[in-house]
């Protein structure tokens, strides 16, 4: 029961806090344009150009390719393309960690799917006659092993790299080591906990117990693992490890947002609202005349 509560609370808080963070960013006021080329959605300007290469650009129909934008986004999310292109040695470690996290996500879903199947009488094992059970068994097995190994290697090696790289060492705060070590500890306790059965049969049974609030025997290590995972899930959206939220905004609303403020456009409405806002705080230098302090 206790572990179930931790698991549910951690997942809900992870999702809730991440969504709240995204909501906070989305509510920030309209900012000045800060695009940086190449902007992938610029259709017809694949060389890194923009609609500003056209004469009287405001008279031309604006062609935007969301497909290219999505493809670029996909490359960034799935492969961390920018890091791959600009700093390959670091990419290997960072990508191991991130790819491992993706695998663990999939593995967790498969564990839940396996547990639900099991509760419905489907045998999830290597010798089952059910194709679904067989599929779940092997997929869980493969994704779990890959995920756990990659996250452990990625987080562990990133800690070592930060400790022994003379440059990174100077810029890494104790908190940043803590972040990586928390991931490492969460995953290593998992590896030890499930080491008795790397086909994850035990993990599936524990998952079934957790999702149905059924009490089950849990040793100290399992309790520690669940607690660590719980802390990690709650801590991630509160820390800068929530860059999965931030990165959406840095690309979509800052670097790739080049929508001009044309007459009758949605941007114009936002500009109208933004320019009528009177800030409550004012700058103090002598050359700046204090605007009205009344808030809209």
């Amino acid at each position: 029961m206790f572990l179930s509560l931790i698991a549910y609370a951690a997942i809900l808080l992870f999702l809730g806090l991440s969504a709240y963070k995204a909501y906070q960013f989305s509510k920030l006021p309209l900012h000045g344009r800060m695009e940086l080329y190449p902007v992938p959605k610029e259709k017809g300007f694949e060389h890194g150009g923009s609609f500003y290469e056209e004469i009287s650009w405001w008279k031309k129909p604006r062609e935007v390719s969301h497909v290219r934008e999505i493809v670029e986004m996909f490359k960034e999310i799935v492969f961390i393309k920018t890091l791959f292109e600009n700093q390959r040695p670091f990419w290997w470690l960072s990508y191991a960690l991130h790819l491992g996290i993706y695998f663990i996500f999939v593995w967790t879903f498969l564990l839940v799917a396996g547990a639900v199947s099991m509760l419905n009488g489907i045998v999830v094992a290597a010798n089952t006659t059910s194709i679904w059970g067989l599929l779940l068994f092997y997929l869980t097995y493969i994704t779990g092993i890959i995920g756990l190994v990659l996250v452990a290697l990625g987080s562990g090696l990133l800690v070592l790299r930060r400790m022994f790289d003379s440059t990174l060492k100077k810029y890494t705060t104790p908190q940043e080591y803590f972040n990586l070590l928390l991931l490492f500890a969460a995953v290593v306790t998992g590896i030890i906990t499930w080491s008795s059965d790397f086909t994850f049969g035990t993990a599936r049974e524990v998952t079934a117990g957790i999702i149905t609030f059924t009490p089950f025997a849990a040793n100290g290590l399992l309790v520690l693992h669940v607690i660590l995972v719980g802390i990690m899930l709650i801590y991630i959206p509160l820390s800068k490890m929530s860059h999965y939220v931030g990165k959406y905004f840095t690309f979509h609303t800052v670097l790739w947002d080049n929508s001009p403020n044309l007459r009758g456009s949605a941007v114009e409405q936002k500009v109208k609202a933004a320019t009528s806002y009177r800030p409550t705080t004012t700058w103090s230098a002598p050359h700046i005349q204090a605007p009205s302090s009344t808030k809209k």
């Binding site: 900012h31 810029y171 500009v271 320019t275 230098a285």
Partner: protein, 537 residues
């Protein structure tokens, strides 16, 4: 003094007379023929009197000529208090126009250090720690954490809030904000899409908007002078009109062309907005524009009204309030003239200020359509409205990409298309297009000539550009009889080119010339009876 390799962000608060010192032999090597001993001028040391008066304690260079050392402990405390007050404000609604990009870049840096390799200043200085893009950002984060976050107050060094904050720390940080050209090349390579230049600019903004400290050429003799007289050059309307008249006479005398600048022509299709510095430093540029536009039969005009004849907006580099005042005043001047559109001449930051930054400063009737001159120039060539003879430009030409126009606006091809058409020996520099490096004059450096700051600019900030130029002309460099032309379609970039060519005596020794795009176009005009360039005569 520290070895730069040992320097850490928290060292900014140390009481050393100077944190690090640059030596020429530690800088990035230059390509031939500048790889030989004695080819590089020495770095200018600060004078003892400057050390006493200004903050020369960072790297020995002085960019902030209005930042003077306090005489009393009270003055020192007041300076720190004002900085902290401004620092708090950058995260408030006083800074709404940049809040989201700022918060993202402030919060999410993973310290992967990918940005360093993209920075021309860091690389040119021989991978110098002080100029690493995240160095300055990290100092700012440490101060914010120390004073404005609960985690910093409770956990101190654990979260990085481990810096001593005193006059020296803040003054050095102010200087360090002027060791970045705000070129945003580092942001292109950040896996999280973060932008260190935002943090550099925010530091500059705190100094200007809160403390009232900014380099004289940008503020007192820049935006303040422009708002007062109409131009950062101090050029008043009568002086501007006199200049135009002189240029008309001079053009007739030199080239036999009866040039007429249309002035304040109501209802003209196009208002051409030049950087007024061109009329003084490179008058051949506005003259070339006028020749081209007249020959193409365009319905255009210049404005002689207040704020209508100078496109510059230095506020873009250090002060959002000044930037907005200038941008709106320029829009008003164009509006009153009743033109259909503004065409911005060859000035990079003016492009960004009036087309991109100004885009969200106003709406509706207040706005005027603004575009770059480059697509128009390409159209004139492509459509054959101008008759060109490319053989007149038969010398090696390379193209510099102004960051504001190319990386930050995506105007990449029109200027290249023109050069491919009219310059038989056009060659790209490496890298080019949106990946090109800053000229080293960006964000005000080109006009900042106080104390020994030019020594930093010419030796370090422009070093990568100089190497790119040498690279583009390899095999041709040592032939001094051969003209080699750097096309820099931006006033500020031309300022930087002028400075490095003088610094390395490259025109004198190797016939390296520089200028804009329109000059090359006019030089290729079939109607021209003699070369437009003096160096071809």
């Amino acid at each position: 003094m520290l070895d730069q390799k040992d320097l850490r962000p928290k060292d900014l608060g140390r009481q050393d007379e100077q944190l690090i010192k640059l030596e020429t032999y530690n800088l990035m090597p230059l390509l031939p023929p500048y790889d030989k001993p004695g080819m590089q001028p020495p770095i200018t040391e600060p004078k003892p009197a400057w050390r006493e008066k200004y903050c020369a304690s960072l790297d020995g260079f002085i960019a902030l000529d209005t930042l003077t050392r306090p005489q009393t402990k009270e003055e020192e405390d007041e300076f720190v208090r004002k900085f902290l007050s401004g620092l708090e404000k950058i995260f408030s609604d006083a800074n709404n126009g940049i809040l989201e990009p700022l918060l993202l870049s402030f919060e999410y840096c993973a310290k992967c250090n990918t940005c360093s390799e993209a920075c021309h200043i860091y690389k040119a200085a021989g991978d110098n720690e002080l100029y690493r893009p995240i160095f300055r950002s990290e100092v700012l984060r440490k101060i914010v954490k120390k004073y404005f976050t609960k985690s910093g107050k409770l956990l101190g060094g654990f979260v990085g809030a481990d810096i001593d904050v005193n006059w020296e720390t803040i003054a050095r940080l102010g200087e360090l904000a002027y060791r970045c050209n705000l070129c945003r090349r580092c942001a292109q390579t950040c896996p999280l899409g973060l932008d260190n230049s935002i943090l550099s600019k925010e530091i500059r903004k705190i100094f200007s908007q809160e403390i009232g400290i900014a380099p004289t050429p940008l503020h007192n003799k820049g935006t303040m002078l422009q708002l007062k007289t109409g131009s950062s050059t101090g050029l008043t309307k009568p002086a501007f009109l006199d200049t135009l008249e002189f240029l008309e006479e001079d053009t007739e005398e030199k080239f036999g062309i009866k040039l007429k600048f249309p002035i304040d022509k109501k209802g003209a299709d196009i208002l051409v907005l030049h950087n007024a510095g061109e009329f003084i430093a490179w008058p051949e540029n506005p003259v070339a524009f006028a020749i081209l536009m007249n020959e193409a039969g365009l319905n255009w005009t210049l404005s002689s009204e207040m704020m209508g004849y100078d496109s510059v907006n230095y506020g873009l580099w250090y002060d959002d309030v000044q930037a907005k005042k200038i941008a709106l005043a320029q829009m008003k001047a164009a509006k009153e003239l009743g033109v259909n559109r503004i065409i911005v001449g060859e000035c990079g930051h003016a492009h960004k200020a009036s087309i991109v930054a100004g885009d969200r400063m106003a709406y509706g009737d207040t706005k005027v359509n603004v575009e770059s001159c480059l697509p128009l120039l390409w159209d004139l060539v492509q459509s054959k409205r101008l008759k060109m003879d490319p053989s007149r430009n038969n010398f090696p030409v390379t193209l510099h990409d102004p960051c504001n126009v190319v990386r930050q606006m995506g105007i990449v091809e029109p200027q290249r298309n023109v050069l491919r058409e009219i310059c038989p020996q056009f060659r790209e520099m490496t890298p080019h297009g949106v990946d090109n490096y800053c000229c080293g004059g960006g964000s005000g450096f080109a006009i900042m000539n106080s104390q020994n700051f030019p020594s930093f600019r010419d030796n370090v900030a422009s070093r990568m550009k100089f190497n790119q130029i040498l690279g583009a002309f390899q095999g041709k460099m040592e032939d001094a009889s051969q003209v080699k032309y750097i096309c820099a379609p931006c006033s500020n970039c031309k300022g930087a080119m002028r400075a490095i060519l003088e610094h390395y005596e490259a025109t004198e020794k190797f016939n390296l010339q520089y200028g804009g795009l329109v000059e090359l176009m006019v030089n290729a005009l079939v109607s021209m009876k003699k070369p437009f360039f003096e160096f071809l005569e």
